[in-house]
């Protein structure tokens, strides 16, 4: 266990940026998002949810899957082998860290997505424990401890004037060694302070819902009239899906000019009409009702069915705060039968 004074973080980041491309939460205009570290740009370690979740580092909104040249002879070039420069993410919150393990279930299951795997392998996550939940946080619903981030390589806890850092993986330990010059040994007092912060982080949740038994309950809810009411407000934008740390659906598109081109994978959203629209005109999800249902059923029923009961939600609250029409998963969990206590 090591520590560093918060006043010396610039030094820490300077060292980290020598180890790889360092990204941390930075405010630009009104938006806080992960951005490449720059000496004179202050990081924002207070905001809990970045605009986009860190999934963008593993599964970018746009990435080249393959390049090709055609004409005389067709040549295909695998672009995934170029993915995965050494990257360090600083300040990833526990919910977003947990979301990556859900994303792994999709992209690291057979057949493994090579680009994703390489990025995962070459990225070090330095998680930052939360001190106090925001009103829209409900990570506890999914058994995520806001003071811990088991999926991270390093965990940093803000004890007031210092960050106390613990290695949680081999990659994390190696990085700690490289940072020896800027870090101090933590004391037993620090250890107690860390425990206090972690314990306190779990208190003060305003939003308490339970998903206990929800997946099973939803087995019979596909035809529920609930969906007829719910969807009407939806304006079919992609805010909820693009901002969601666990949403992972994509499209493949061609970009070509002359005799060469590339195939690009880009985020897609089940909220959009053309997501399931087939060439002949048939659309198995013809109205927004089916699309809204697909999104929530995927998160709360299909995904758990496919992946050992785990829900595809980490309670980060981005969709709760950002949905233009306040149609969010919290509402669905509450109304479809998750137990409620608290607000």
């Amino acid at each position: 266990m090591k520590k560093i004074a918060k006043t010396k973080l610039q030094e820490l980041w300077r060292c980290l940026s020598a180890e790889g491309a360092l990204y941390l939460p930075v405010r630009s205009d009104s938006v806080v998002d992960f951005a490449l570290w720059q000496e004179d740009v202050p990081a924002d370690l207070e905001t809990l949810n970045t605009f986009l979740p860190p999934k963008k580092f593993y599964y970018p909104q746009t990435e080249t899957v393959l390049k090709y040249e055609f004409g005389e002879n067709l040549q295909l070039l695998d672009a995934s082998s170029q993915a995965g420069e050494k990257t360090i993410l600083f300040g990833v919150r526990p919910c977003d860290t947990a979301a990556l393990s859900l994303m792994d279930k999709v992209y690291l299951s057979e057949p493994v997505d090579e680009a994703y795997r390489r990025r995962r392998e070459n990225t070090v996550i330095i998680a930052l424990g939360c001190r106090e939940p925001e009103e829209t946080c409900f990570c506890q619903t999914f058994d995520i401890d806001p003071g811990k981030a088991p999926g991270a390589d390093l965990l940093a806890i803000d004890t007031g004037t210092e960050l106390v850092v613990t290695a949680q993986s081999l990659k994390g330990e190696e990085l700690l060694v490289a940072l020896n010059g800027v870090l101090q040994e933590a004391t037993s007092g620090d250890e107690i302070r860390v425990k206090d912060v972690q314990e306190q982080a779990g208190e003060g949740y305003l939003t308490r819902v339970s998903v206990h038994g929800l997946a099973e309950k939803l087995d019979t809810c596909f035809a529920s009239p609930y969906w007829d009411r719910l969807y009407r407000r939806c304006i079919a934008c992609g805010t909820c899906t693009y901002l969601c740390p666990t949403c992972h659906c994509f499209d493949l598109q061609e970009y070509a000019a002359g005799h060469s081109g590339e195939r690009v994978r880009c985020w897609d959203a089940c909220m959009f009409t053309d997501f399931t629209q087939m060439a002949g005109g048939h659309n198995p999800r013809p109205t927004q009702k089916e699309r809204v249902r697909q999104r929530f059923m995927h998160k709360l029923n299909y995904f758990p069915r496919q992946h050992g009961g785990e829900y595809a939600c980490v309670g980060c609250g981005r969709c709760v705060r950002q949905c233009p029409v306040n149609l969010d998963i919290l509402e669905v969990i509450r109304e479809m039968g998750g137990a409620v206590d608290g607000q």
């Binding site: 630009s28 205009d29 009104s30 938006v31 998002d33 605009f51 986009l52 909104q61 746009t62 106090e132 925001e134 009103e135 829209t136 003060g204 305003l206 939003t207 009411r229 009407r232 407000r233 304006i235 079919a236 934008c237 992609g238 805010t239 693009y242 901002l243 499209d251 598109q253 970009y255 690009v264 880009c266 985020w267 897609d268 959203a269 959009f272 009409t273 053309d274 709760v320 950002q322 233009p324 029409v325 306040n326 149609l327 919290l330 509402e331 509450r334 607000q343």
Partner: protein, 323 residues
């Protein structure tokens, strides 16, 4: 004297009970103090859920497009900004006047949750209610009164038409236009316009770079009411799916251009943009130039007039070299 919410409930219940309409669009309260989504009320007994509070912002007008497909007549509550959206749909022939029963709600402006959070700890806020010129903020440990005018949404600070411009019934007395609106309306546009050209590009590139192409700006906009949007077309494909800055600018320029002369400044696109892109600065730039070259025009005030890009005069000046 009954509260605003009570008046909404009574009007909706009455209209539904006597069968004048079979659906009423208003607002209701949801879980959090800042959530007031649009409510779809189909029976008099359900009218109780309606509320009109400092966060009843979302413009319900676009829902009319789908609602009037399955309801002969729909009741809708509109603030000044929302009402201009109705004229938008009427002018675009996407709605018939007889299909809607319009309840007008004069509005002195809605509250910005971010401004409230900046003053009060969000964790402690239970409710924020309008009481005359003040906001009553109920906290877990007491309550406070603050001047509502200090917490207005950006879009409300520049509102020229706080009173509905088209309605069947007005639920309460009209309110005055805020002082200084005409100056502030183009203030942000002018401050960007004053920058050097490269600076302007850098500014906009930074804004557009955040765009995730969720299309919330388009989908919420009553002026974006085409049955099929060119950006959704597969053939020819006008917009790629990859998030490339040039293509995002393509989307944003054309989106703004397609509502040029038709944008009625409700500002919802900017308010709901998850990436915080100042879209009104583009929309208003177009309005500024339309005013300058073709004469002052405000969209959505009169469903019977002609939008400036749908007409011309022989003596129009040109914004380019005509020699």
């Amino acid at each position: 004297m009954s509260t605003a919410s009570e008046k909404l409930r009574a009007s909706a219940a009455e209209a539904l009970a006597c069968g004048r309409v079979s659906l009423v669009l208003g607002w209701r309260k949801k879980d959090f103090w800042w959530q007031s989504p649009v409510a779809f009320v189909e029976a008099a007994a359900e009218a109780e859920q309606l509320s009109f509070d400092p966060f009843s912002v979302y413009n319900p007008v676009k829902y009319l497009l789908e609602a009037t497909e399955c309801h002969e007549k729909v009741g809708v509550f509109v603030k000044g900004c929302d009402s201009r959206g109705i004229n938008r749909l009427l002018q675009d022939k996407r709605l018939e006047r007889e299909q809607v029963l319009i309840f007008g709600l004069p509005c002195s402006g809605k509250a910005d949750p971010a401004k409230i959070r900046a003053v009060f700890p969000a964790q402690k806020i239970r409710e924020v209610a309008q009481e005359g010129e003040e906001l009553l903020v109920r906290l877990t440990d007491g309550q406070e009164r603050v001047a509502a005018a200090d917490f207005l949404l950006e879009k409300c600070l520049t509102c020229r038409h706080p009173n509905p411009v088209v309605f069947d019934e007005l639920l309460w007395e009209p309110v005055p236009v805020r002082a200084g609106v005409d100056v502030s309306r183009f203030a942000r546009v002018n401050s960007v316009a004053q920058k050097e050209i490269l600076e302007r590009y850098t500014y906009w590139a930074r804004q557009f770079d955040r765009c995730i192409r969720c299309f919330a700006c388009r989908n919420t906009c009553p002026a974006c009411n085409c049955r099929s949007c060119i950006f959704d077309q597969a053939e020819p494909r006008w917009l790629g799916k990859a998030s490339d800055l040039a293509d995002t600018m393509n989307y944003q320029i054309i989106r703004a251009f397609h509502v040029a002369g038709r944008c009625f400044e409700c500002g919802e696109c900017e308010r709901i943009c998850p990436a915080g892109i100042p879209l009104q600065e583009m929309n208003r730039r177009l309005i500024m130039d339309i005013d300058k070259y073709f004469g002052p025009y405000e969209a959505g005030l009169d469903a019977g007039d002609s939008p400036p890009l749908g007409t011309y005069r022989g003596e129009d000046p040109a914004g380019f070299d005509e020699s």
